[in-house]
């Protein structure tokens, strides 16, 4: 990314405009991640409702970003780092929109879980996981603003930890369900919630990779270790994976 300005200054304003929208969208998504987990832990139906309603604003921002990037492409025919900005903005807005959807889904399940007996410690663990993903997103957006591929790489590496948190929760929920079948409904919801947060982490990672692309022109090497081992676990055995 060159710091110098375009000869046509309205071009700079166009590009800054779409990037500002991404940052704004990122802020809304960060809040949604924290709030849906908080609503779950504090059994706060009002907050859950706010997250569910707030998703519309996130979707609207994505629409606006799509329109404005299309306009920049048509009007400016961007090249080199400008082209990478436009391409990355489109992908990042997609990632953020997906994360917003997951937050909304979690808020819906939080509403359902209100009507059930809480599962010991589960919502606290979920909230820690959400907090971790939100921090990753915050760092990824900072890395974007500063065009810092190293920080983006650090964020991308941290996704392993989210995967591990998900694995641990998955096993825990399995144990609860084995212990008492009355826990099954709640644990199923909690499991989907944990899975949603794990997917959020994947989208944050994809976003961090766009930061690397926009700053270096190259995508990072494609052998990110996946720490999600649950596809290989034998679900009939409560001791599976416990070591």
């Amino acid at each position: 990314m060159t710091d110098s300005q375009h000869i046509v200054s309205s071009y700079d304003r166009d590009l800054e405009g779409v990037q500002a929208l991404i940052i704004k969208m990122g802020g809304l998504v960060e809040t949604a991640i924290l709030d849906c987990a908080k609503a779950l832990e504090l059994r706060d139906e009002e907050l859950a409702e706010r997250v569910r309603k707030g998703d519309k604003a996130i979707d609207a921002l994505m629409e606006q970003i799509n329109e404005e990037t299309a306009f920049v492409i048509a009007r400016r025919a961007p090249a080199a780092s400008d082209l990478r900005v436009v391409l990355s903005v489109m992908k990042m807005s997609n990632n953020l929109e997906r994360i917003g959807d997951y937050a909304k889904n979690i808020a819906k399940r939080a509403g359902v879980l209100l009507q059930m007996t809480p599962i010991d410690g589960a919502s606290g663990a979920v909230r820690r996981m959400a907090r971790e993903v939100e921090l990753m997103l915050k760092d990824a957006l900072d890395a974007y603003i500063q065009r810092d591929p190293e920080l983006a790489q650090v964020v991308s590496n941290r996704d392993k930890e989210v995967d591990q948190m998900y694995n641990a929760l998955f096993r825990e929920f399995l144990t609860f369900m084995m212990e008492d079948p009355r826990n099954i409904t709640a644990c199923m919801h909690l499991h989907f919630i944990a899975k949603n947060i794990e997917r959020m982490g994947d989208h944050v990672t994809a976003l961090a990779e766009q930061v690397i692309y926009v700053s270096t022109g190259k995508m990072p090497e494609e052998d990110r270790p996946k720490a999600d081992s649950t596809p290989y676990e034998i679900h009939g055995d409560p001791m599976a994976g416990k070591d």
Partner: protein
């Protein structure tokens, strides 16, 4: 992403057509080209881009020794065409220019008939044995120039009566009539409207399965559209030379970046 072989029509051969080494050009005291090294592949469109006065036209003219016609111009270094030094004393510049044809910014048909515009080169190079032969050469060149259908019924009308876009395609047809191996084009579309520009670009893309085309252009979009290789010149230096996809998505030199993104360098 620019490694994807499907992205661009495959370049048939990548062997070197023109190889320039340590080329310097001076106009009197002005050092216009500074130690340029480049290998231009055959059957490929190579674009020269860069700000006005950076030496694109000067370097292009080195490739068929057009600079010989400028008194104060001095060229140093080696330029090989198929491994033969074109500045060798034994090379006849007129013969060379039949092999390395040139199309200019402003269409410049001779004040003669369409037919004679094309027949001129083949006649002086003795490429036709008789009238029927010449007719065939003219038709073939006009077809290659993608203008045959528009002029076949008025071959004896003056070339200067055609539209600007038609005149430029006529000039391209004239350049290919001598069976060149390389076509040099210096801003061939700058006097043309968008439709005529598209027609010439389409023609350039067709020409590259027979010729090595080198085009100087002010339009970055044109360079991105028509070329497979792009060379960026700046103040007489060849700053960056690479695959067009790479130059336009991920240039390595900050001067290239500034120029193609329209920034103050």
């Amino acid at each position: 992403m620019y490694d994807n072989p499907n992205l661009e029509r495959k370049v048939a051969q990548q062997d070197t057509k023109i190889s320039a080494r340590n080329v310097q050009v001076f106009y009197g005291d002005t050092h216009a080209i500074k130690d340029v090294n480049i290998e231009i592949p055959s059957r490929t469109v190579t674009a020269f881009i860069g700000p006005s006065g950076c030496g694109k036209s000067t370097f292009l003219r080195c490739l068929n020794r057009m600079n010989d016609t400028i008194d104060i111009c001095r060229v140093e270094g080696d330029i090989d065409l198929d491994g033969e030094n074109i500045y060798d004393k034994r090379v006849d510049p007129v013969q060379l220019r039949a092999k390395v044809g040139m199309v200019f910014q402003k269409p410049n048909p001779f004040p003669k008939s369409i037919y004679d515009n094309i027949a001129y080169g083949p006649r002086i190079h003795g490429l036709a044995k008789n009238k029927a032969d010449l007719d065939e050469i003219v038709e073939k060149a006009l077809r290659r120039g993608a203008i045959w259908n528009e002029v076949k019924d008025r071959l004896h009308a003056p070339g200067t009566g055609l539209s600007g876009g038609q005149q430029q395609r006529l000039c391209i047809a004239r350049a290919v009539a001598t069976e060149p191996e390389v076509l040099l084009m210096d801003e061939p579309c700058s006097a043309l409207d968008p439709i005529a520009t598209s027609q010439v670009e389409e023609l350039i893309d067709e020409l590259r399965d027979q010729y090595s085309v080198v085009i100087v252009t002010h339009s970055m979009q044109q360079a991105a559209r028509v070329s497979q290789k792009t060379a960026f010149f700046h103040l007489g230096n060849l700053v960056e030379y690479g695959d067009t996809g790479q130059i336009f998505t991920n240039p390595q030199d900050s001067r290239t970046e500034s120029y193609i993104t329209g920034r103050i360098g």
